[in-house]
């Protein structure tokens, strides 16, 4: 995020494309057209796109669509995908039930020498 970016850049008119209806983020059902439109609305980083449209915010956390979104945004901005910083990955790696995540029982078992580890 160190690169200085003037957000007043002119990307020209938003032109619809034939495959704009294609679903890119399957978890949150976000289409290619919506992602392209978001760029025209001024969302110029992958994190802003994600906060705006919820791409990569669903159950798979962007493991499926992350690269695709990056490529679409890069093409819309006319830059190389590598110039875009990926959105931050967040814990947990896979969804975990609250009763499991909230359980610190293992620590107690270790302290008391209890068994039962699977």
């Amino acid at each position: 995020m160190k690169k200085i970016m003037d957000r007043s850049i002119d990307l020209g008119e938003f032109l619809p494309q034939a495959d704009d209806e294609m679903i890119i983020c399957r978890c949150e059902e976000v289409t290619k057209g919506e992602i392209r439109q978001a760029v025209h609305d001024g969302m110029l980083t992958l994190t802003e796109i994600r906060r705006y449209l919820r791409t990569g915010m669903g159950l798979c956390q962007g493991q499926t669509c992350g690269k695709l979104v990056k490529n679409i945004v890069a093409r819309e901005l006319g830059i190389a995908p590598a110039e875009l910083e990926s959105a931050v990955s967040r814990a947990p790696v896979r969804p975990v039930e609250m009763r499991v995540l909230g359980n610190e029982g293992l620590e107690n078992e270790v302290l008391t020498g209890g068994g039962g580890h699977v």
């Binding site: 690169k3 200085i4 007043s8 001024g42 906060r51 669903g58 967040r90 814990a91």
Partner: protein
Amino acid sequence: MSNCSDVLIIGGGVIGCATAYYLAQKGVSVTVLEKAQIGEGGSSRNGGGVRQSGRDPRELPLAMKAVKNLWPTLSEELGMDVEYYKKGNLRLAKTAGHIKILEGLTERAVAKGLAVRMIDAKEVRDICPYLSDEVIGASWCDTDGHANPMLTTLAYYKNARRLGVRFITGENVVEIRKIKGVARQVITADNVYEAPQIILAAGYESRAIANTIGIDIPMNRVLLEALVTEPQVKMFEQMLGTAEADFYGHQSTHGSFVFGGTSGMDAYTSDFDVPVNNSRTASCICRGIMNYFPILSEAKIVRTWAGWIDECADHVPVISFVEEVPGLILACAFTGHGFGISPMVGTLLSEMVVDKEPSIDLSELRYNRFKTKI
């Protein structure tokens, strides 16, 4: 492009974006300088509360006016659903001690004219039937609510940008400089910007920037963490909190539950340059939630994140002109509850620039109110 404008705003969070929007509406030319990206600080890392209850009397008038005049029509005005719900706020109690805390808060708010009251266990369950049987009462303010902070920030940004506000991200402000006794230049790592009016709204980082011009606001950086579940069946629309702030949150339009909280160890586990989740905090927040909502114990946590709040010495913001530095307005130290009042703060800051005076008396939020204890 020229680096001069009527107003320079330091900080592209919800306060900076809202202020830019209201100023642009009044025909003022604005440049916003942001170090990272839009809404990167507390604006994208808060529980989304649009609360009046539980607020300090000094900032309560801002919250009440925002809820009355600005929030209800914000989505329509900005042409984007900011997911605002005005369905009330429950602050839950399980013990007599909790009830005492809530009665104190309620009394002070009622004195300021807010319609908030204590309700018993039965009424709590009528409003929200999913709670644990251990809940014995709550404070209830039916005009409180919640909204989506990320969408609100980006909606202000999008509309301000459309009105011609120049946003520059990646600009790391290192100094505010006076010319002939008046704040005039903002120096970044790479550039110099100029305006006759500078608004500093950079969260905790406002402190170091204000220091470069001889002003210090006593605030600390405090870590809060948040988590979100997978989508659940629609259950309730209230904003929730507890007397002891074990957690706070709501169910979003998306269906997921967003909850924030702390571990109690945060001051000792958060000494990093960026806000980082501690491995024990989400677990702690989960236990807090399950104590009140056993029904959510099977809900899966999808994501956790952390953020800094700019915690002021007296827990209310600084929204103020600075006598020693004409041309500078401070808007910082929101202490983790700036989001709910952000539309009002943006409006007031635009009035301070254009009319030279805000329409609500902000004298209790002045920058020079901090005194030593003796």
